[in-house]
Symmetry: C2
Subunit: 419 residues, 2 copies
C-alpha cells in the first residue's frame, strides 16, 4: 500500500508525499524568506514546523537550520539530517498521523497554497560549475564546429570536461531574461559586430546541489561522492551562441553564458529519486581508478522543453530528453572536481551540461535542434531558429512511479528585448 498524505494530491501532481522537494519561499510579499517543502498544491512552512517543536530527531531538534533565508545550513548537516527531515515530514503529512492533520490552527499557520507564495533561490551559491557530460551533445557540437572526423576531443572520454560558470547571475524560475548584447563575428577577416545577440538559445540541463563540502586539499572519493549531493534541480543555461563562438578560444565560454542561468525553485532530493535510479551507460575506455565507481547510477527523469511565443495562448513542445542520457554521472563529476584538492562548499551547483539524447527530437538546445540555424523549427504555425523577444521557455522534469510522480515542477524564463 503506497504512502498517502491527508492532503489531497492528484495523480499528475509532481509533489506527492513520496517527493517532498525543498525550496525557499515567502508566504506574503513582505514576509521574510523561509524553507518549505512542496506537498500537492501547498507549501509546508518548515520554520513553523521547526518552531512548533515537531522536528524531534537528534540532528534537527536543536537546530535553527529551518529559520534561515536559504537552505545552506541544512545542506551542510549531511545525509543523516536530510533523512531525518524526510522521515519526520513524511510521517507528519501522512494520512494516518493526527499531529498536523487534526490541528486546524497549525495547518492554517504552516500550509500555504502554492499559488499564493513567491519562490526564491533555494541556496546561496558560492561557486557554480558546468559540466559537458552528454555524449550526444558533445558529438553534435563537435560535428558542427570541427567536422565529423574529430567531433569529440580525445580528453572527453577520459574525464568529465567542465568550466567554471558565473554564480551572481543565477536566478530562480520565472525571472525574465534580458537579451544580452555583445560581440559576434561574421567569418573570415571581417571585423566583429556589436549588438543584441542574434543567436539566443536555451540549454536543457539539470544541476546537482552540493551538501557537505570538502576541505581544500582533501579530494572526495568517488564512492562517497553521493553523500555530498543533496539533490537535483532543473537548470536552463541560457546561451548566446554568437557571443560564445567569437570569445571562447582559448579560455572557454564567458559572456556568452554569464548574463543569466535559471534554476527551478524546488530541489528534489536524491532520496526521493532513489526509486528511479538506473544503470549509467557503460564507459569505454574504462575510467581511471579515481573515477571508477562500484555502482554507477543515473536516474530516469523525463525532461521536456516547451516554448510559448509572445501573444500565443499555447506553448509547443520542442524537445523531450532524459537525465539518463548522461555519460558521466554526477558522482563522477563531483569526485573529478575535487581530485586536484579543490574545495566544494554547501550550496555549490554542478550543472550537467546540455542533456541531449540520441534522436534529433531529444536534442537539448536550439543550436542542435536547428543545426546552428540551418533549419527552422516549426512552432504552432510559426518557426524558430533561435529565441525571439517575448518567447517564454519552460522546462519540466519528472519521474513516473507506480500511481504517482516525483517531479521538479517547471523552470521557466521569458526573453525581454535588449535595452
Amino acid at each position: 500500500m503506497a504512502l498517502k498524505s491527508f492532503i489531497e494530491v492528484g495523480p499528475d501532481s509532481h509533489f506527492p508525499i513520496q517527493n517532498l522537494p525543498f525550496g525557499i519561499f515567502k508566504p506574503e510579499p513582505t514576509s521574510p524568506p523561509r524553507p518549505g517543502v512542496a506537498i500537492g498544491d501547498y507549501v509546508l512552512d518548515l520554520s513553523t514546523i521547526s518552531v512548533s517543536g515537531l522536528f524531534e530527531g537528534p540532528f534537527l531538534s536543536g537546530s535553527d537550520c529551518f529559520l534561515q533565508p536559504n537552505l545552506n545550513k541544512f545542506l551542510a548537516l549531511g545525509r543523516p539530517a536530510w533523512k531525518e527531515a524526510r522521515t519526520t515530514l513524511q510521517n507528519l503529512l501522512s494520512a494516518d498521523e493526527a499531529k498536523l492533520r487534526d490541528n486546524p490552527n497549525l495547518r492554517e499557520k504552516s500550509l500555504v497554497p502554492m499559488s499564493k507564495v513567491e519562490m526564491l533561490l533555494p541556496i546561496a551559491i558560492g561557486d557554480y560549475t558546468d559540466f559537458f557530460s552528454s555524449m550526444h551533445h558533445a558529438r553534435n557540437c563537435g560535428i558542427m564546429f570541427r567536422g565529423p572526423e574529430n567531433a569529440i576531443n580525445p580528453n572527453w572520454f577520459q574525464l568529465p570536461i567542465a568550466y567554471h560558470g558565473r554564480s551572481s547571475s543565477i536566478v530562480v524560475s520565472g525571472t525574465d531574461i534580458i537579451r544580452p548584447r555583445g560581440q559576434g563575428h561574421p567569418s573570415g577577416k571581417s571585423p566583429p559586430y556589436f549588438g543584441p545577440s542574434r543567436k539566443l538559445d536555451f540549454e536543457l540541463e539539470m544541476a546537482a546541489v552540493v551538501g557537505p563540502g570538502n576541505e581544500l586539499g582533501k579530494p572526495v572519493d568517488v564512492n562517497e561522492a553521493g553523500d555530498h549531493i543533496f539533490g537535483l534541480v532543473l537548470m536552463n543555461d541560457w546561451s548566446a551562441r554568437d557571443i560564445q563562438a567569437w570569445e571562447y578560444v582559448p579560455l572557454g565560454p564567458f559572456l556568452g553564458k554569464s548574463f543569466g542561468t535559471t534554476i527551478s525553485p524546488w530541489i528534489v532530493t536524491l532520496d526521493a529519486l532513489e526509486p528511479f535510479a538506473c544503470d549509467a551507460p557503460k564507459q569505454d575506455p574504462q575510467p581511471l581508478p579515481y573515477l571508477a565507481e562500484k555502482i554507477s547510477k543515473n536516474y530516469d527523469i523525463s525532461l521536456e522543453v516547451q516554448i510559448k511565443p509572445a501573444g500565443q495562448e499555447d506553448s509547443c513542445v520542442v524537445t523531450r530528453s532524459n537525465f539518463n542520457h548522461l555519460y558521466w554521472t554526477v558522482t563522477q563529476q563531483l569526485a573529478h572536481h575535487t581530485i586536484n584538492g579543490c574545495n566544494l562548499r554547501p550550496g555549490d551547483l554542478l550543472g550537467t551540461g546540455t542533456i541531449s539524447g540520441p534522436e534529433p527530437e531529444s536534442y537539448g538546445c536550439l543550436l542542435e535542434l536547428t543545426w546552428n540555424g540551418q533549419k527552422s523549427l516549426s512552432l504552432n504555425g510559426t518557426t524558430r531558429k533561435f529565441l525571439e523577444d517575448g518567447d517564454e521557455v519552460v522546462f519540466s522534469g519528472c519521474s513516473k512511479g507506480d500511481g504517482y510522480k516525483v517531479g521538479f515542477g517547471t523552470c521557466s524564463g521569458k526573453i525581454l528585448p535588449s535595452p
Copy 2:
C-alpha cells in the same frame, strides 16, 4: 612638503601615510577578524577607530562597515566613502594631528605591531574572473602551443578575453599550496597518466577588487568603470600546466587552476595609486565604442617574483615585470564583463592574467621563462623547470614616489607535496 605620519616609516617601507592599504586581521589568535590599514610596521585597527567615534564624516559616522569580518560592506559604499575614510585616516595619522598621536591609551588599543597580527582574506569573494590581458603572455603561449603564425587568436585584439575562476580556493598570502593531482597526457594516442602535477607553475598577476556592483541587465559604462574598482592586490594564479594542457579544449582551464589562488592581504586603493597612473598602450585596432575610454590608464607598479627553495637561506629573483605591460586596462575589463548584463557584486575579483613584459627577464611564469621546460632556470646553484616541493614563491610589488613607496607587501605560498 610631503605628508608625514607621527609613526616612523622608513623610506623603503611599502606602507607610508601615502598608501594606507586596507586588509582584515586578527590582533590575537582568538580575537575576531576586523578591518585595518597598514602604516609602517603597524596595523591600525579600524574597529577601534570606528567605535571611538573618529570617523565623523557623513558616509562613515553612523556605519558599522568597520565592525565586519570582511571589507565587503565598506566596498559597497563606493568612492565617496572610500575618499572620506582615506582623508580621515591620513589626518588622524599625520604628524600634525594630536588626536591619536597624543592619546597613549588609544594608540595602545588601536596600533598593533604588524609582526604580531594574523592577516586573513580581506574580502568575501562571490565570483572571481581571470582575464588574459598581457599581449606578451598571450603571444608567448600562442607560439608555444599553436606556432608563431597564429600566435594570438584574432578575438584577442577585439575584447579582453577571460574565464570564470574558482572562488572557494582563493587563499591569503602565506597559506601553503598542496601540489594537485590530476590527469596529464604525454602526446599522440597514448592514454593519460594520473598523479601529482609534473608542471606546477606560478602566474604573476594582479587583481582588481570590485566595489559597488551593478544590477543584472545593467552594464557599466567604460568611463564610469573606475568608480566600481576599490583597489588592487597581488595575485598568484598557481597553475598545473600538464593538467591544464590536457583538459582545456574546448571549455577552458578548470582543475589546472582551481586547486589554489593566492592574493596579498593588503588592498592598495586606486586613490593611493593615482600618482603612479600612466598611459595605457595604444590599442590597434581601435576598440569598439563600448570599450573606448576617454582616458585609458595603467599604473606604474614594479613587480618581482622570488623563489626560495626548501632548505636554502636565500631566495632568488626569477622575473621582474610591471603592471603597465597590460594591453587591456582594468576599467575595460570591468566594462566588458558587464556589457552582456552580467552583474558584479562588492568583493568580486578581476584578475589581470599573467603580466609578462617584452623581455625574457620579464616573463610572468615558468612556462614562459623555461619555454615549457625546454630550458632550465638557474637558481643560486640549483635549477628549475617547474616548481618543486618545498619551493616558496614570493611576489612583491610597489610604486616608487618621491622619497616614499606605495607598495603591496608580499604575496607568497610554499608548495607542499601531494598527499
